[in-house]
Symmetry: D3
Subunit: 114 residues, 6 copies
C-alpha cells in the first residue's frame, strides 16, 4: 500500500469514528470543513491550492497529503502545485523544508497531468 493509500485508509476509518461521537460542535465543524472547498467565485482547484499552502506553512503532513491529492482531483497541474508550494516555502521559511520533502515524496505517488 502506498503512503497516500495508507493515509486515505486511516482518514476514512477515523472520520467514521468521529461521526459516531455525539457532539454537535464536532459534527458541524467536520461538515463545514468539507463545504469550505466547494467551488465558488474561486475554482475548486484554487481552493485546494489555498488549503495546500496553508497546510505547508502550518506544517501538517496529513493536511499536505490530503490537499495534494485533492488538488490533483480538481484538475491542478504539477506546475501549479509547485508554484503554490514555492510561495508556502518563502512565507514559512526553512522550517517548512522537511514537510516539503515529504510532500515531494507523496507527489511522486500521484499521476499528474503535466
Amino acid at each position: 500500500m502506498s503512503k497516500l493509500e495508507e493515509f486515505q485508509k486511516f482518514r476514512a476509518e477515523m472520520n467514521a469514528e468521529i461521526q459516531n461521537i455525539d457532539n454537535k460542535t464536532i459534527k458541524r465543524f467536520m461538515a463545514l470543513d468539507h463545504q469550505a472547498y466547494q467551488e465558488g467565485v474561486l475554482e475548486g482547484k484554487i481552493k485546494e491550492l489555498l488549503g495546500l499552502a496553508c497546510s505547508m506553512v502550518l506544517r501538517c503532513d496529513d493536511c499536505i497529503t490530503y490537499h495534494l491529492w485533492q488538488a490533483r482531483e480538481t484538475g491542478a497541474s504539477r506546475k501549479e502545485v509547485e508554484e503554490a508550494m514555492a510561495i508556502a516555502l518563502i512565507v514559512g521559511g526553512s522550517i517548512v523544508i522537511p514537510h516539503f520533502r515529504r510532500a515531494v515524496e507523496i507527489a511522486k505517488e500521484i499521476e499528474w497531468e503535466e
Copy 2:
C-alpha cells in the same frame, strides 16, 4: 504493545535520560511541568483537560496522548474529554483534525467510565 503503552515506555526511558543531564534549567523545568497539574482551586481533571486542549491547538501528538491518559487517571469522563476536544477543534481549526483523528485512535485504547 498498544500505541499508548509504546508512548509510555519511550517517555519513561527518555525522561530518565533527561534526568541524567547535568543542567539545572532543564531539571527545574521538568519538575515545574509536573507540579503545574497538581490539584488547586481547579480539580486535577480540569487541569488535565486544559493541558489536553492546549496540546491539541498546538498540535503535539505525544502531549495529546499524555493528557488523554492523565485525564482518565484523574477521573474525567469520555464526554468531558470530547467537549474539551471540541473547543480545541474550533479554536485551532481544521489543521487540528489529523491530530484529533490520532487522539480518537488513542482514546479507544483507554477504558473510560461513561
Copy 3:
C-alpha cells in the same frame, strides 16, 4: 474608555461587518464558534477557561481579553483564572509572558469575585 471596553466596541462593530459578508462558510463558522462554549457536561466557566488557556498558548491578545471577560461572566473566580493561566504559561513557555502581562493588565479592569 478602558482597554476592555475599547476591545468590546471594536469587536461588536467588526462582527456586524462580518455578518454583512455574503459567504456561508464565514457565517456558519462564526455561529459555530459561539455555540462551542454553551454549557454541556462541562460548565460554561470551564469552557471559557479552556478557551482562555488555548488563547494564551496561541498568543492572541484579543482572544485572551475576550475569554477573561467571559470567564468572569460565567462565574470563574480570579484564582481559577490564575491557575488556568499558570498551565498555559508552562505549556507555552516564556514566549507567552508578554501576553500574560497584557492579560494581567486587562484582569485589573474586571471586578472579580474572590
Copy 4:
C-alpha cells in the same frame, strides 16, 4: 492617514533601513520574497491570495494588510478575497477571528471592483 497608508509608509521606511544592512542572507531573502509572487503558471492575483491565506493562518496583521492591497493591485475582486479568507478561517480556526476583524477594517479602506 488611513491605516493602510500608515502601514505602507512604515514598510517603505524600514525596508530602506533593511537594505542598508550589510548582510547577504538578508538582502537575498528580501529579493526572493519579492520574486516569489511574480506571475508564473499561476496568475499574480492567485499568488497574492495564497500569500493572504497563509498570512491569515499564521496570524500576521501586517502581512494580511500587504496581501489584501496586493490582491487588489493584481485584480482580485472582493468576493475572491472573501473566499480565500473563508478558507483561512476554517483551516486556522477561531484564533484567526481577531485578525479577520482587522482585515475587514483594512478591506474597507480599499476600493474593490465588485
Copy 5:
C-alpha cells in the same frame, strides 16, 4: 519616551503585578526564565542571541525588544545581532519580516559598539 523605554516601563510594572499573584507555578517559572540566560559554557551574549532568534521565529515583538537590549547589555555587537536575525529570517520565512522591521526600529534606539 522611546519605544524601548516604554516597553521597559510596562514590563517592570507588570512583572511587579505578576509577583503579587499567589501562585507557585507562575512565580517559579518567572524565576526560571531569568536563570536560563545566566552564563554557563555558553557566554551570556550567546544565550541572548539564542533568545533573540527564538523570539523572531515565534514572532513576539516584546521578546525581540527584550533580547535586543539584553544582547547589547551582555556585549553583542550590531553585526552579531544581524547575523542571528538573518538565521531567524531564513528559518522562519517572510512571515518574520514585519517583526524584523520593528526589530530594526528598536535597534536604532540602542547604542551599539560596532
Copy 6:
C-alpha cells in the same frame, strides 16, 4: 541503520528530487538556506546552535536532528548543545518536551567531544 543515518539518507534523496523541480524560487531558497549558516562574525557552531534552538521552539524533529549533527560537525560540545536546548525549552515551554526527548535519543547516536 541508525535514526540519524535514516534521516540523512531520506534528506539526500529528497533534496535531489527538489533540485529537479524547475522552479527558481525553490532553488534559490534551498541555496540561501545553506548559505545562511556559513561562518561570519559568528562562528559556524554558534549559527548551528541558533538553528537548533529555533528548530526546537518551532518543534520540527527533522530540523532538530539536522542541527544536532551539524553542531557536532562544526565543533560544538555536548554541554553547549544542552545549554542551547535548555533555552529553547524555557522559551517554547512543555510542548517542546516530546521533541526534546527525541533530540536526546538522536544525541545518543552522535559521538560528542566532551
